[in-house]
Symmetry: C2
DNA sequence: GCCATTGTTGACCAAACGGTCAGGGCCATA
DNA sequence: TATGGCCCTGACCGTTTGGTCAACAATGGC
């Protein structure tokens, strides 16, 4: 059973066109772009299908409803974020830890701005699809990392600051470079930030926040 | 002509039900709430009408198209923001000026979170309705206030920092309390920030950013 | 070659949408 | 009380939408 299934799975991963794996990936990528640009309601399964290069009915074959597809996209986004979130480690040195974390979040905004925008839209809608994620995974993260920040403060390494205020400032500032990329582009003379400009912004953001909270 | 019109206008502002002024206000307020929650496409003229307590056809009487209504809402939002934006004045003391500005932006996020969310959605859609506003009014603002920041730096009052990086940090952090209020609420145990909590957050945000950029 | 499973798709449908319109109500002026 | 200018709205319309379905490949085990 398992072997037969595995063999079938393996056969499918060849150079052949289509197939579950590739089509699901195509659809999820298209959906991410369309949801990010038009929001949940504005995105149409037709537009997603067109962007994926598939007929609309085929999209509904893999993802029965628009809501299912949306949740699958959100799950992918949250997974990727979780990986980056671990870069705020329990180091002895808050300077290194925070610098790494800010850099990781900025990198994520640079490499995957669409996910950040979908997340922002989801929160602004009242987070109907991810409330439980916020209540469990994220609340856990904040509690754990908040304790670390408080320890740093107790050790005299950090100025006294509510960990949440610090986290919100980091999240807001770094995600701003993804969510408001269009505004930043216009204020940059109509051109998106170059790699150098973005790297410089990353450095300055990290430096400013660190000056703000280091003891 | 003018006097007759003025008299009619005055008569209309009495206790009477309906009338252009009141209905337009009702519609704009309802539209602000619905656009903020559902986005441009997700908001329906029917939902806006229902929230305003008016028939849908009446909404279309005052605002011929959904797009007209949306632009009217955006104009109101931008007007209110412009007023707050002036609180970053050309003071000798960057500490006072930035503190005032951050407090004004936080106050705006507290009092009018809906406008902030509509603005965020608009930017994430690519800012089709306000690109010219960004290119003119906002670009002007940034140029002018950026010059002030650079002067402060030259005078040794501020650490060297790209004014835009500073502005983005202030905008992102303060607007975060409006746009991500739902997330903040969940991480606050399911209750919105109290007035005291919000005031404390305002203080800490201002203090942290000031430590970050003051020389 | 046969069959079961999986994948594919054009055509279709009910619901919801933005917007229209004709007909009527209201009120100040004459 | 007749007139003209706003204001109001139920009923309606064409289009778009998410979703369905029946018919039809394609594949792999036997």
């Amino acid at each position: 059973m398992v072997t037969a299934q595995a063999a079938r799975e393996k056969a499918r991963t060849g150079a052949r066109r289509g197939g579950r794996e590739e089509n699901e990936r195509l659809i999820l990528e298209a959906a991410e772009a369309v949801f990010a640009e038009l929001g949940f309601k504005g995105a149409t399964t037709g537009a997603i299908a067109e962007r994926a290069g598939l007929p609309k009915a085929n999209v509904h074959y893999y993802f029965p409803s628009k809501d299912d597809l949306y949740r699958a996209v959100m799950a992918r986004v949250l997974d990727r974020w979780l990986a980056a979130a671990s870069s705020l480690d329990d180091s002895d040195d808050p300077k290194d830890a925070l610098t790494r974390y800010i850099a990781a979040k900025m990198e994520l905004s640079r490499a995957m701005p669409l996910g950040s925008r979908i997340f922002a839209s989801e929160i602004m809608r009242g987070a109907p699809a991810i409330t439980d994620h916020l209540e469990t995974t994220l609340a856990d993260w904040v509690a754990r990392r908040g304790a670390i920040v408080r320890r740093w403060i107790a050790e005299g390494k950090l100025a006294p600051v509510d960990p949440k205020v610090l986290f919100y400032m980091i999240w807001a500032t770094t995600q701003h470079y993804a969510d408001f990329a269009r505004q930043i582009e216009v204020l940059n003379g109509g051109r998106p930030l170059s790699d150098e400009q973005f790297a410089e912004a990353t450095r300055q953001v990290a430096r400013t926040i660190l000056r703000g909270v280091l003891a």
